[in-house]
Structure formats: C-alpha cells, structure tokens
C-alpha cells in the first residue's frame, strides 16, 4: 500500500526540483497526447521546446519573440506574487494591464507630434499610475467595506475591456485612420516608441523593467521587513497582527504594486510590440501571469524562469500548430498539463510517499 505522510517541515530539495519534475512529466504526458493525435511525439516536443531557440530557419524570428512575450508575463507575475504571498488575490491584472496601456498611450498621443526625450518617461509614469489606480478600486473597497478583491478585480477586467473598446473607437482613434478603429501607431512616433534596445533581440525597455522588478522583489522578500510582513500575513494572519502588521496597509501595498507593474507591462506592450491601442489589444497576459506566478513558486527568480518557459511554450506551440498541424486546443491542453503536474508534484514538498506500511511493523 502507498500512503502519504506529512513531513515535519517542508522539504527544501523538493521545493527546488518539483518544477523540473513537472516539466519532464508534461513532456511525457504531452508526448503521449501528440502520439495519440498521430504526430511524432519527439518531433512535436522538439518543435515546442527546441526549434524556437535553435532551429536555423525560424530561430532568427522566434528568439526575439521569447523576450517580447516573457517580459510582460514576468513583470505582471512578479507583482501578483507579492499579493499571493500575502493572501491578497489580485485576479484582475488583465484589467490593470489594459488601463496602464490606455493611460500611457493617451499621455504619449496627447503630445503628438512634439518630439522630446521626456515624453517616454512620462508615459511610463502614466502607465504605472493607470494600473495602480485601477487596482486601488478593489483595494479601497476591500479595506473600507470588506468586499472580496477576487470578484471586484476580476469584474473590473471586463469594465476595462469596454473602456479599451470605447477608447479605440472614440477618444484615442487615429484622426488620420480613415475611420478604422485603433489609435495612431506609436511606432511612427519616435519619442513615444518603445524600440528594441539591441536590434533583433526583442530586448526593449519592458524587459529591463521586468529584470529590475525581479531583483527588487527578491530584495523585498529576502531582506526587507515589508517582504517579511507579506509572507507573515499570508501564512499566519493572527501572528502578523501580533507582529505589528497593519492589514489595510499591506492590502493596499500589494494591490497597488501589482497593479502598477501590470500597468507598466501594458504600457511597454502598447508602445512597443503592439504599437497601438486597438479593440483586441489585450491577449490574456494578465491571466497567464497567474499561472506563471505559481509555476515560479511565487519566487522572483522562479518567476523569471517560469515566464521564459511559458513564453517558449506559446511560441513553440504556434510553431507546432503551424509546422505539424497540431490543433491549437492540443497546445492549450499541453500548457494546462504543465500547471496540473506542478500542482500534483507539489504535494511532495509537504508529504513523503511511504510504501507498504500495512501490517509489517518491526522496530
């Protein structure tokens, strides 16, 4: 008989290796799934994990995409991890991402066609502020009226989507766009354009911001009282109050920071890779970042790796469906497996497996 036995302490070893184990298990199970679909599993896995980076034909195009896709995921997930560690569940990063993009783009477009090196920093500030304020709505409601931040932040995503549509069709619409929805393309406005810092690498200011955010979060969690209080509040709320944590301050800090980072991600996206405010500007980074945060164990460096891995499965998945004709749904199932296996092997951090405990007791 196999039984699970609770460990007296969480295992440090297992905390570190479960993500790797989960990736391996996903490759095996995903391989089986691809085989059932009639594709060569090894080729499919190679197409997803290897070709985007090293295939001579595609890597030149897809390698920069890795950073472009990973940066917003990492930026948002780092902010979310702070809240998740404190037990503050911001599910509405997608909405904060949209509002950051709208505010940042609006500031840039307001100055069009003036050229100044001050415009882009102003847009960054506006993007962060937009996300911050949008996240303050669930924050203040929770602090003042004890509303549930999960519901409020999630529902505000849909509000933000409508605002996005109205902006793309109304206030921010390109006056020279012949009536088509969507704003001016910021790629054609040098002062507001978030260009690649090194050609053909995908490295733009958003990537730099993501790396700074990761380092900042690492220092916060490991060396700063605020990070300690965040962990404390998440693990033992009563002990946190005893330790002098003010819950209201903590809630506003976590929601505000994650909102600001999501807003930044939106700004860097709209001013760079996307280029313009359009009706379908958002593609779900805010929701995927939730998976990235957990895949990275809510640890900043874990999130860095998880964000890159997640971006890789997106790019590789597209490549696989394009090259091998693997259905898109199969790619999504493959990504789902990753989270599923991570949660499953996660049990081993707190439990150990014991074989054959029944009967044979001799000590």
């Amino acid at each position: 008989m196999i039984t699970l036995e609770k460990r007296p302490e969480p295992s440090k070893l297992w905390t570190a290796i479960t993500p790797i184990l989960a990736v391996v298990a996903t490759m095996i199970a995903g391989g089986i799934m691809f085989a059932v679909l009639g594709k060569d599993p090894l080729v499919a896995i190679r197409t997803i994990f290897w070709d985007p980076l090293f295939n001579e034909q595609f890597a030149g195009f897809s390698r920069p995409q890795l950073l472009v896709k990973a940066a917003p995921l990492i930026l948002i997930a780092t902010g979310l991890a702070m809240g998740f560690r404190a037990g503050v569940w911001n599910i509405g990063a997608e909405g904060q991402y949209i509002m950051g993009a709208i505010c940042g783009a609006a500031v840039g477009l307001a100055f069009y066609p003036t050229e100044s090196f001050l415009i882009f920093p102003l847009m960054i500030a506006a993007g962060a502020l937009g996300g911050f304020l949008w996240a303050m709505i669930p924050g203040v409601l929770k602090v003042k009226f004890h509303t549930n931040e999960i519901l409020v932040s999630l529902l505000l995503v849909y509000v933000a989507e409508f605002i996005l549509a109205s902006m793309a069709l109304g206030a921010l619409r390109n006056p020279e766009g012949n009536g088509f929805p969507g704003s001016r393309n910021l790629k054609e406005y040098p002062s507001a354009f978030n260009a690649e810092l090194l050609p053909n690498t995908g490295l733009h200011w958003g990537v730099v911001a993501a790396i700074i955010a990761v380092i900042f979060a690492y220092v916060l969690f490991s060396k700063h009282m605020m990070g300690f209080h965040i962990r404390l509040a998440g693990q033992a709320p009563k002990a946190a109050r005893f330790g002098g944590v003010e819950p209201a301050r903590l809630i506003l800090f976590c929601l505000g920071t994650s909102g600001a980072l999501a807003g930044l991600a939106g700004l860097f996206e709209v001013s760079g890779p996307a280029g313009q405010i359009s009706i379908d500007f958002n593609v779900g980074y805010g929701f995927t970042a939730i998976i990235v945060a957990f895949l990275g164990r809510l640890n900043p460096f874990g999130i860095l790796l998880a964000g890159l891995l997640m971006a890789l499965t997106y790019i590789g998945g597209e490549l696989a469906s394009f090259m091998l004709g693997v259905p898109t749904a199969a790619i999504q199932a493959f990504q789902g497996m990753l989270l599923f296996f991570l949660l499953a092997v996660d049990v081993l951090t707190n439990y150990r497996i014991k074989f054959g405990t029944k009967g044979g007791g001799s000590i």
Binding site: E9, K223, L232, F242
Partner: protein, 514 residues
C-alpha cells in the same frame, strides 16, 4: 510486565507491546499495561512522552505499528473510532468538537449513529445528567455554555453509549475548582458502576486524589507504575522527568510605582461568541506579578490583545508608566517596553511554517534592533534566535527549523524566552505554561520571577490556579469579561479563588444539585 500478575479474564483492557513510530520519532515504544474494571487509571508523562498517541491507538484514531490489545478477553484492534465506541470505549477530548450555534441535544444527536427523536433524546439527556450529577439543559445553545458545561455535553455524549472504558484527556484544564469537584463526583459514580477510566492530566494532586493506578511514560516508553495515593506529587513529577525537580523561588517585594494600568475599559465582542470586556480596570506596579485567573473564553484573549496593541482603544484607557498608549499598535508599544506573549503558540505567537530565526524577528525586530530602515539584519536575528534557544533550553535541531516542527512545550519556551530576553519594562503573558511539562513549566515560572525581581511589571493570565498562587503577588479573577478587584495572593486559598472565579449562577446550581 512486572507490575502485577494479571489473569486475562480479570482485566478490562490489556495492552501488550504497543509501538508507533512517526518520521524521526518513536511516539510509543513497546508500551504494555492493563486496566482493571472499575479503576481510574492515570497516564502520566511530559509533553511528547507519547500519552496522546497511546490513547489515540486505543480509541482507533491511530493504527499501531506493532503490538496488540485485548478488551474483555477478546482481541481488540479498532480500525476507527466508531469501532472503538461499538466495543465500549469512549473518549472526551481536551478540545471539544461542538457546534456553538446548535443546542445541546442537537450536538449530541450529530455524533450518534441512529439518533432517536429529539424529544426522546432530550429526555434521556436529562435522565443521564441527573443520574450523574451533571446539570445540563438539552435545549440550551452550546454557544452560551461555559467551558465546564461544554465538557458535560461531551461526557454525556459518551455516557449515552454506556461505555466500559472512558478516556479523558486533560479534563480539568478548563474547569474552576468547583467544577472539578463536580466532575470528580461523577467519575466516582462511574467507577462505582464498574466503568473504568483512563485519565490523562498534568495536575498531579488531582491524580493523587482520584486515581487507583498510574502508568508513567517517558520518551515513548513505560518507565514506571505506581499507586498515586502512596506517592507525593513531587516524586511522580520526578519519575516523569527522570531527574530532580527545581521549585521556583519567590523573593519578597517592596511597593513601587505603577507601571501598567487600564482605566474603565469597555470593549464590545469582536466575533459572535466572543467575549466583551466590561469595565476593566487594573494597575500593576514595577516588579509586581499580577495573576489573572479564570476559565478560557471569559475575555482572556481580548484582554491580552488590548494590552499587546492588537486591539486599539482610546489613548487614555491604557497607560504605560503614565504614558497613554491605548491607540498605539504592537510595535510602538514594544518600543516603549510593553511586550506580550499570546496564548495560541502556533499561528498567533509564532508563524508555523517559518523558521525560529524568522519567528525571532516577528516580535524582536524593534527592541533588538534587527532592522535598519526596513532592511533586515539576518545575522543579528540568527544570533538572537540562538540566544533564546540556548538560554531557554529549546530543544530543536537548529534555528532554521520551522516552528511547527517543535513540540508544544519547546515552542512555548521559545515564545516566552523571546519576550523575556528583550528585557521588557512590562510583560503580558497569556497561559505561560499551557501544555508544558513540569520541569519546563518550573523554568518558565522562575524566569518570570527573575524578570519581576529586575523591576518589570508582569501580568500573567492563566487557568492554572496553582501556578498563579505560586508566582503572583496579587490575584484577580476574569469572569464573563469582568475583572474582580485584585487580592493579595498571600490572603487566598484555592477555595476562595474558586468562589471569585465562579461568580456565575452555574456554580451555585452545582452546589445545590451536588
């Protein structure tokens, strides 16, 4: 084993070689003893000696790795508590499992296999409660009951099954002295009817008064058996610990300035079934220990959080050395010298999954200077944790061990030591030795006395009246959120304290019915 010759048919329950190991620790190692019909059998031991594991095996909650049990001459190995109950074994736990929003009869019906009609059940509850002198109204809401009355619900729930063996885990820890004597009369009556009782307690005087036999466990092994009536409490404590016991010494005290005071404080209950504080006033002098007695749930936690700063009041209502502090949070109070140690170790005084080092930071950051501008000095924090571990003899593999991996007594030593070593000018401590074994309890009490001798004002909130008699200078009772006027401890005996604590109508009812 060697204690006495037993013929299989004569004993109610015979346990042979019971063994249970958990990862890293053997909770029970080849434990053998037997219980006769109609005897009260005490199970003694320090924290972590394996008492709970042993009774859980008897009650079918834990499966032994090895060994066997024989009940009434028949092999007995309950797979689950239901099987144990069917065989005639019942258990009253230390922590009750009752629903506060349901009445007594409904609570009892919930635990039954085939509950009878409510009216019949209520009648049976009345009958049993009268027969055994346990006054209880089946229609009362459990949320309105005192701890003693809640325990009666649990006992009656057991008695309705006509048990042959009743296991009681620390039954008197939540009772006033009067309630204890009512309980003992009930147990005597049960014994007279041939029911055996397996009785776990840390209170050795009780065991001397009540029990026929005692089995003593140390580190999972049976180390001795004795007849408690022929032993002194001290001798039994030394058998449990395996070494001579240190008795705390109290020095005489000279009156000094008031350090900590509360003035006419009313605090409404924060949660349903919480207790509101009503008109609380107290003052503690430098170097004085004020003992606050009373059964848990009468406002102890609320009073502790008002003093610690977890619950805020108007500034003037709480003063430290004349400074109004009622509106200051915990860390501001720590900076001024007022520290607190709450009752609940895991989850309140300490974060379970955090290391001892991190838990040292939890309340030590301000006074020990473990942070500078928000940045944590982990080296200094580790040194502070090491100091606590060393000075208070906390048994732990290292300072990196998670708090939840420690035994209750060891964690209590850590939590108490953490506050004492910060050299407070005033300390509030709730249940300082709750669930802590005799030698560790003595060490904690001595540390409190030493701290008072250095001039700190100390408020000790405790259910253990012997403890309060031993260390406090003055004593006040907290009952239903009201604090009695404090009395010099030297003028008191247990009887008087019991009357101060009782206060409630419930004590009078017992005396009439008893």
């Amino acid at each position: 084993m060697e204690d006495r010759l037993s013929i299989a048919g004569e004993d109610l329950l015979t346990i042979t070689g019971l063994t249970k190991a958990y990862p890293g620790v053997v909770a029970n190692d080849q434990v053998s003893f037997s219980i006769r019909p109609g005897e009260v059998h005490a199970l003694l031991g320090e924290n972590g000696a394996g008492k709970s594991t042993l009774v859980k095996m008897i009650y079918g909650l834990v499966k032994p790795d090895a060994g066997s049990m024989v009940l009434k001459g028949v092999p007995y190995s309950p797979a689950e508590p239901r099987a144990a109950r069917a065989a005639g074994v019942a258990m009253v736990f230390q922590h009750f499992s009752l629903f506060e929003a349901l009445n007594v009869a409904e609570n009892i019906a919930l635990g039954m296999e085939n509950p009878p009609k409510m009216r019949d059940l209520a009648a049976r509850i009345r009958e049993v409660s009268q027969n055994y002198g346990l006054p209880l109204d089946p229609d009362q809401m459990v949320g309105d009951l005192s701890a003693g009355e809640r325990q009666r619900v649990e006992i009656i729930r057991c008695l309705l099954q006509n048990p042959k063996l009743l296991i009681m885990d620390e039954p008197t820890s939540v009772l006033t002295p009067q309630e204890v004597s009512v309980l003992f009369q009930t147990l005597e009556k049960l014994r007279g009817e041939g029911c055996s009782i397996l009785y776990i307690s840390h209170k050795l005087e009780e065991i001397r008064a009540l029990c026929d036999h005692a089995t003593i466990l140390r580190l999972g092994q049976k180390v001795a058996t004795c007849n408690p009536r022929q032993e002194t409490a001290r001798a039994m404590a030394e058998m449990m610990v395996g070494e001579a016991l240190h008795v705390p010494q109290k020095a005489p005290r000279i009156p000094q300035d008031v350090a900590l005071e509360i003035d006419q404080l009313d605090v409404p209950a924060r949660a349903a079934f919480g207790t509101s504080l009503k008109g609380i006033s107290l003052s503690v002098q430098k170097g004085e220990i004020l003992g606050i007695g009373g059964v848990a749930g009468n406002g102890q936690d609320e009073l502790c959080s008002v003093l610690s700063g977890e619950a805020l009041t108007a500034a003037e209502q709480v003063k430290l050395a004349g400074t109004p502090i009622g509106d200051l949070g915990p860390n501001a109070r720590r900076a001024l010298g007022l520290l607190a140690a709450p009752e609940e170790r895991l989850g309140h005084a300490a974060a379970p999954d955090m290391s001892l080092t991190e838990n040292a930071l939890l309340s030590g950051a301000v006074r020990e200077g473990l942070e500078h501008n928000g940045m944590i000095d982990w080296g200094k924090t580790r040194d502070f944790a090491q100091k606590i571990i060393h000075r208070f003899d906390v048994r732990t593999p290292s300072a990196n061990t998670a708090a939840r991996a420690l035994s209750g007594g060891n964690l209590q030593k850590f939590v108490v030591g953490r506050e004492i070593l910060q050299n407070p000018s005033a300390l509030v401590i709730n249940q300082p030795t709750w669930g802590v074994d005799a030698s560790a309890a003595a060490a904690i009490r001595q540390a409190l006395l030493d701290l008072a001798a250095e001039g700190a004002a100390i408020v000790v909130i405790s259910q253990d009246l012997d403890e309060l008699m031993e260390i406090s200078d003055r004593f006040a009772a907290l009952n239903e959120g009201r604090l009695s006027a404090p009395v010099e401890t030297s003028d008191l005996d247990v009887e008087k304290i019991g009357l101060m604590l009782g206060g409630a109508s419930d004590t009078k009812a017992e005396q009439v019915s008893a």
